[in-house]
C-alpha cells in the first residue's frame, strides 16, 4: 500500500506573494485615496488593483492593520457598513500620511534603481 502525496499541479503564471513590507504601503495608499474603509473593503480594493499580479490572502491584512495601528499610522473605530453590517473602519492619520509620502519617495527610488540594474543586466 504505497501512500501517495498530493502534488499541486504546476501552476501556470502563479501570482507572486505580496513582497514583504509593500502591504503596509498599499494599505496606507488605499486609505489615503478612499477615505475610511473596513477590512473587507480594503482587501477587496487591493485585490482589484493587484488582480493577476499578486495573490493576497485576505486574512493577512488584519495583522498588517494591527501593526500600522500600533505604529500610530492609522486609527480605527467601529461603525456601520452601507448594508448596515457592524464593522471596524480604518482611517489614515496625519503621521500615516507623512510616513506614506516618505515611503512612496523611497519606494520610487528603489524601483528605479532596481529597474536600472535589471536593464543593465539584459
Amino acid at each position: 500500500m504505497e501512500g501517495g502525496r498530493v502534488l499541486l499541479p504546476v501552476n501556470m503564471a502563479k501570482p507572486a506573494d505580496v513582497p514583504y513590507g509593500t502591504l503596509d504601503l498599499m494599505v496606507l495608499r488605499t486609505l489615503k485615496t478612499m477615505g475610511p474603509l473596513h477590512g473587507y473593503g480594503l482587501a477587496r480594493r487591493i485585490e482589484q488593483i493587484a488582480r493577476g499580479i499578486l495573490s493576497l490572502n485576505q486574512g493577512t491584512i488584519y495583522p498588517a492593520l494591527l501593526r500600522l495601528e500600533q505604529q500610530g499610522l492609522i486609527k480605527s473605530r467601529w461603525g456601520s457598513s452601507d448594508n448596515n453590517r457592524r464593522a471596524k473602519f480604518y482611517e489614515i492619520t496625519r503621521t500615516g500620511e507623512r510616513h506614506l509620502a516618505a515611503e512612496s519617495k523611497h519606494w520610487a527610488r528603489m524601483v528605479s534603481m532596481v529597474s536600472r540594474l535589471l536593464e543593465g543586466e539584459s
Binding site: 473587507y40 473593503g41 486574512g59 488584519y62 495583522p63 457592524r86 471596524k88
Partner: protein
C-alpha cells in the same frame, strides 16, 4: 508602543481575541453579501467568503503575535501546554527526566570539579598576584625557594611589587583525643592577609615583630571553619591551642573559605614566620641554621605588580636587581635570576608550573561525561520520536488546519525543553551529591585540607542550564522536524500504522547504532580503568604487605629534643621486638608508596654524576630489610653499631643503583658520596661512604612501572623528624598486634607522638595516588555502566516500537503456522544486526579512545584482551535481552486479534 504590547500581553484580558473574532465575522458576512449579490446561494456564498479569507487560524495566530510580545507570549503558552501534556503522560515524562538528570548530573559533577580546579575565581585580590621564582639560568631544574634575608632584599629594593609576601607550608602536631593529629598549616609573612585583600573575620593579622625570624612569639590565626565549629564563640580570639605540644594564642580568624593564592588548599591554621624555626621539623631546619640564615631557603614569595607594570617589564627590572644582589649578597644571590610567573592554582612548588595537569584531566573527563549526555540525548530523541509517531495524527490535523510548521516545531521543542530543564534541576542535585561523596572519601586521606565547594555556584548552574538547552535542542529538533514533515494525506488516511516498515534501518535504528557505539567506547574506557584500579589495589613496592604493620611517629610534633627523640625511638623498637608474634622490626625515614619522597644526587668520589633519576634517599635502622622482607643480594644489613656516632660511614644500595654506578664491578667495598650543594659548606653528610650491601630493588611510587634507584644510609644520629617503624609479624593476628603495639608505645611515653598505626594493607588503601586511580576507575566504570543501561533502554524502546508496528505481520505469520520461537528468532536477528553495526562502528573508536587515555591508565594496555572481549559481549547480551522482552510480548498476541486490528 512597547508598553501597549506588554499591556496586550498581561493587561485587560477581556477576551483578547473577541474583537478580532468580531472583525473577521464582519469580514465574512460582508464578503458573503457580495457573493450572494452575484447570485450564489447563502451556503455557497459563505464558503466562497471563507476561501477568500484563507486560514483563520493562521491569521489569528499572526495577529496574536503582532499584538503581544510574540516570543514571550507563545513561549509561556507553549510551556503551559507542555506542562499539561506531561501531566497526562507522567511515566514517559519521568523516564525522560531521569535520563536527563543522570546525564546532566554526571556532567555537572565533572564541571563542579573542573570549576574548582580551573575556573572559580580566587578570593580577594589573589588573582592579581604573581609568583616570584629564583633559578640559575645556566643549570636546568635549578629553581629553589628563597631565604628570609633574600626575601627582605627583594621586598625593600625592587620597585615592581606593591605587596611582596613570603609563605611556606608545614605539618604540625595537634592533639586529638589521646593521639596526635598532623595538621596542615601555612607560615606567612605579616602582610599576607592584607596583600590577598580580604578582611579577617575576627581579630588581627600578624605584626612585624612576630614576623622576625627567631622571634618565636607563639600566636596563630585560625580558620573561619574552626571558629564556626566552636559556634562562633566570642572568646575564640584570645584562646590558646596546642601546636607541637606548645601553647599558641589565637589572635585572629581568617576570612571564610580562605585559600590564599591557591584555588583549593585550605590550611587550618596560619603561623607567623617568627615561629618557623621552632615549629618546622628537622627536615626543614637546615642543620640547625634558622630561617634568618641565607643558607636556609625555605620560603616561597609572591606579590602584586605595581599598576602599569607588565610581566615582561617586571622580569627586565628583576634581572638587573638579580645582578645587584649577586654582588651585594653572593651567599644566596650568586648565579640566581629572579623571574615572575603566574602562580599555579593547584600546585605548591618553588618551580613555576602551568596548570596543564588539571587542564588535561578536565579535557579527558569532560568529553567522557559528555558522551553519557550524548547517549542520553540519543535515547530521548528515540523516545520522543516514538511518541511523536504516536502523535502524528494530532500533528497532521494541526498542519491540515493551517497551523504553521515552524509554530508546531517550536511547540515540540518547548515540550522537550520543559523536560530538559526539570531534568537539569534534578541533575544538579545528583551532581552535588556526587561531589559531596567524592570530597567525603577524599578528606580523610589528603595530607592537606582541600576546599571543593560541593554546592553549585553560578558557573555550574549556567553550565547545567546550557547542557539542558543543548540537550533539548539535540533531542527535540530531529524528532520535531521528522514528525512535522508534511505527509498529510497519508497520515490522515491511515496514520501510517498498517504500512509495513519499508526501511528497517530508519532514523531510529541509526540512533540506537550511535548509542551502542558510544556506550561501547565508554564501557571499554571504564573497563580499562577498572582493571587498572584492581591492579593498583593489589600492587606493592616489591615486598609482601601481608603481616606487615606500620607505625609512624613524629617526635618533632610533640616538642621532643633530638636526644629525647632518639631515646624514645630506640626504646620503642626494643619493646616491639620483644613482643611475642613479632618476627622483626626496623624503622626508616620514608615509606614507599607514601605521599612524601626525598631524593639526592650521589656520585663516586672524583667522578661526574651519571645521568638519570636521582636515587631515593632513605635512612634505615638495623633489621629494616629483614622486617619488610627485602632480600639482600650481597653483603650485610646495617648493624646497631652503624647507628652509633663516630662509626665509619657506610651505605647500602639497591640493584638499580648498582647497575647504574657499578655496571661491571662489585659494589661491595666501593665508595659513594653526596656532593655538597653549590655555595654550601660540606657537612658530615657529604663525606664518602663505604658500600656494605646490595638489596633487591623496589618501586618508590605507585605510578612507576619498575624499581628505581635507592640509597640507604644508617639512621642519622641527631634526627628528630618522622620515623616509620615496620613490624613483620609471624603467627599472630594483625588486629591483636595493633593493640599490643599501641600498648607498648603508650608504655614508653603516654604522649608518644603516634601519627599512624595500621597494617601496611590499610596504609596502602588510604594512599592518595591509589585514591586517584580508584576514583578514576570507579567514575569511568559508572559512566560505562550508565551508558550500557541507557543503550539497553534505547534498544528496548526501538524494539517495542518495531514489534507494535509489525503486530499484523506477526499475526499473519502466527496464523500461517510460524511458532513464537521462529518469530522471536526473527526479531532477535533483526536486533542483532543493529547491535553488530553499532559494535562495528564503536570498536575501532573504543580502541582509539583507549590509546588516547593510555597515558592516564595504570599498568593496563589499551589492547587489554579481557576488556576488549568482555565489553562487546556484555553489550551484545544486554541488547539481546532488551530485544527479547518486547519480542516475546509481541508473540503473545492472538492471530485473530492481530488481523482484526484495523
Amino acid at each position: 508602543m512597547l508598553l501597549a504590547r506588554v499591556a496586550g500581553l498581561f493587561g485587560a484580558r477581556r477576551h483578547p481575541d473577541a474583537e478580532l473574532d468580531e472583525e473577521l465575522r464582519a469580514h465574512l458576512e460582508l464578503a458573503a453579501d457580495e457573493h450572494r449579490a452575484r447570485g450564489l446561494s447563502p451556503e455557497q456564498a459563505m464558503l466562497a467568503a471563507r476561501r477568500d479569507l484563507g486560514s483563520t487560524i493562521r491569521t489569528v495566530e499572526r495577529y496574536r503575535e503582532q499584538r503581544g510580545l510574540p516570543l514571550v507570549e507563545t513561549f509561556v503558552r507553549d510551556v503551559r501546554y507542555a506542562l499539561r501534556l506531561w501531566r497526562r503522560a507522567p511515566g514517559f515524562a519521568a523516564v525522560v527526566v531521569a535520563i536527563v538528570a543522570l546525564g546532566v548530573g554526571v556532567n555537572s559533577a565533572m564541571f563542579t570539579f573542573v570549576n574548582a580546579l580551573l575556573l572559580r575565581p580566587l578570593p580577594g585580590r589573589a588573582a592579581e598576584m604573581v609568583g616570584l621564582y629564583s633559578h640559575n639560568p645556566k643549570e636546568p631544574n635549578s629553581y629553589r625557594p628563597f631565604s628570609y634575608p633574600n626575601y627582605l632584599d627583594i621586598r625593600d629594593r625592587s620597585d615592581v611589587f606593591d605587596d611582596l609576601v613570603a609563605y611556606t607550608f608545614l605539618m604540625v602536631g595537634r592533639p586529638a583525643g589521646d593521639v596526635l593529629r598532623r595538621a596542615f598549616v601555612q607560615v606567612v609573612s605579616a602582610n599576607y592577609f592584607g596583600a590577598v585583600g580580604l578582611p579577617l573575620a575576627a581579630g588581627r593579622s600578624f605584626t612585624r615583630e612576630e614576623d622576625r625570624p627567631g622571634a618565636d612569639i607563639p600566636v596563630a590565626i585560625a580558620s573561619y571553619e574552626s571558629w564556626r565549629d566552636e559556634g562562633f564563640d566570642p572568646a575564640f580570639v584570645g584562646r590558646t591551642i596546642r601546636v607541637n605540644a606548645r601553647d599558641f594564642t589565637i589572635v585572629g580568624v581568617a576570612p571564610k573559605g580562605f585559600t590564599g593564592t591557591s584555588a583549593l588548599i585550605a590550611p587550618e591554621l596560619w603561623l607567623p614566620i617568627g615561629v618557623f624555626d621552632t615549629v618546622a621539623n628537622d627536615m626543614f631546619k637546615n642543620n640547625g641554621r634558622g630561617l634568618g640564615d641565607r643558607s636556609n631557603t625555605a620560603l616561597m614569595v609572591a606579590g602584586r605588580l605595581k599598576p602599569g607594570i607588565s610581566m615582561t617589564q617586571a622580569n627586565a627590572r628583576l634581572a638587573s636587581l638579580s645582578a645587584d644582589l649577586a654582588r651585594d649578597a653572593p651567599a644566596d644571590g650568586q648565579d640566581r635570576l629572579l623571574t615572575v610567573h603566574p602562580i599555579s592554582r593547584v600546585n605548591i612548588s618553588s618551580t613555576p608550573r602551568a596548570d596543564t595537569g588539571p587542564a588535561v584531566l578536565s579535557a579527558v573527563l569532560m568529553p567522557l561525561s559528555g558522551g553519557v549526555l550524548l547517549i542520553a540525548c540519543l535515547n530521548i530523541a528515540n523516545m520522543l520520536l516514538a511518541r511523536g509517531t504516536a502523535r502524528k495524527k494530532e500533528i497532521a490535523i494541526r498542519l491540515a488546519l493551517g497551523g504553521g510548521r515552524a509554530r508546531i516545531v517550536r511547540q515540540l521543542l518547548t515540550e522537550s525543553l520543559v523536560l530538559a530543564l526539570v531534568g537539569a534541576g534534578v541533575g544538579l542535585l545528583i551532581g552535588s551529591w556526587t561531589i559531596q561523596l567524592l570530597v567525603t572519601s577524599l578528606t580523610p586521606i589528603m595530607p592537606m585540607p582541600l576546599r571543593i565547594e560541593p554546592r553549585p555556584d553560578v558557573n555550574v548552574v549556567l553550565a547545567a542550564t546550557a547542557f539542558a538547552v543543548l540537550s533539548a535542542l539535540a533531542f527535540g529538533l530531529a524528532p520535531a522536524l521528522k514528525v512535522t514533515k508534511p505527509d498529510l494525506v497519508d497520515d490522515l488516511k491511515d496514520l501510517g500504522a498498517s504500512r509495513l516498515p519499508g526501511r528497517r534501518f530508519g532514523t531510529r535504528a541509526w540512533l540506537v547504532v550511535c548509542q551502542i557505539a558510544v556506550s561501547l567506547m565508554l564501557m571499554t574506557a571504564g573497563g580499562l580503568f577498572a582493571r587498572g584500579a584492581l591492579r593498583a589495589n593489589h600492587a606493592d613496592p616489591g615486598y609482601r604487605y601481608d603481616g606487615l604493620i606500620l607505625v609512624s611517629i613524629d617526635p618533632s610534633l610533640a616538642g621532643y629534643s633530638a636526644a629525647q627523640s632518639r631515646e624514645r625511638l630506640r626504646t620503642a623498637l626494643e619493646r616491639i621486638r620483644a613482643l611475642p608474634g613479632v618476627a622483626a622490626a626496623g624503622a626508616n625515614s620514608q615509606v614507599p608508596f607514601g605521599n612524601f619522597h626525598l631524593s639526592t644526587l650521589v656520585v663516586r668520589p672524583g667522578q661526574k654524576p651519571v645521568a638519570g633519576r636521582e636515587p631515593t634517599y632513605t635512612t634505615v635502622t638495623a633489621d629494616y630489610f629483614k622486617a619488610v622482607g627485602l632480600p639482600l643480594i650481597r653483603g650485610r644489613e646495617f648493624s646497631r653499631a652503624d647507628e652509633l656516632a663516630g662509626s665509619p660511614h657506610v651505605a647500602i644500595i639497591d640493584e638499580p643503583l648498582a647497575r647504574r654506578l657499578f655496571p661491571d664491578e662489585d659494589p661491595i667495598g666501593q665508595q659513594l658520596m653526596i656532593p655538597a650543594r653549590t655555595n654550601q659548606r660540606p657537612t658530615a653528610e657529604n663525606e664518602p661512604m663505604t658500600i656494605v650491601g646490595v638489596v633487591q630493588g623496589i618501586r618508590e611510587e605507585l605510578l612507576e612501572a619498575r624499581p628505581v634507584p635507592h640509597l640507604y644510609v644508617p639512621a642519622a644520629t641527631g634526627y628528630d623528624a618522622a620515623s616509620h617503624i615496620h613490624v613483620r609479624i609471624a603467627g599472630a593476628s594483625e588486629t591483636d598486634m595493633l593493640g599490643a603495639i599501641r600498648r607498648e608505645l603508650r608504655a614508653v611515653d603516654d604522649r608518644f607522638p603516634i601519627v599512624e598505626l595500621r597494617t601496611m594493607r590499610d596504609f596502602h588503601d588510604r594512599g592518595l595516588t591509589l585514591w586517584v586511580i580508584r576514583t578514576a576507575g570507579r567514575t569511568l566504570t559508572a559512566l560505562g555502566g550508565l551508558a550500557l543501561l541507557l543503550a539497553a533502554i534505547g534498544v528496548y524502546g526501538v524494539k517495542s516500537y518495531v514489534v507494535s508496528q509489525r503486530t499484523r505481520e506477526i499475526g499473519i505469520r502466527l496464523a500461517l503456522g510460524a511458532s513464537s520461537r521462529d518469530i522471536i528468532g526473527m526479531l532477535l536477528r533483526d536486533g542483532a544486526r543493529i547491535t553488530l553495526v553499532g559494535i562495528a562502528i564503536g570498536f575501532p573508536l573504543a580502541v582509539l579512545l583507549g590509546r588516547f587515555l593510555s597515558v592516564a591508565m595504570f599498568e593496563v594496555s589499551a589492547f587489554d584482551p579481557v576488556v576488549l572481549t568482555m565489553a562487546p559481549l556484555v553489550l551484545t547480551t544486554a541488547a539481546a535481552i532488551a530485544t527479547y522482552v518486547p519480542a516475546r510480548r509481541g508473540t503473545r498476541i492472538s492471530p485473530i486479534e492481530a488481523l482484526r486490528m484495523d
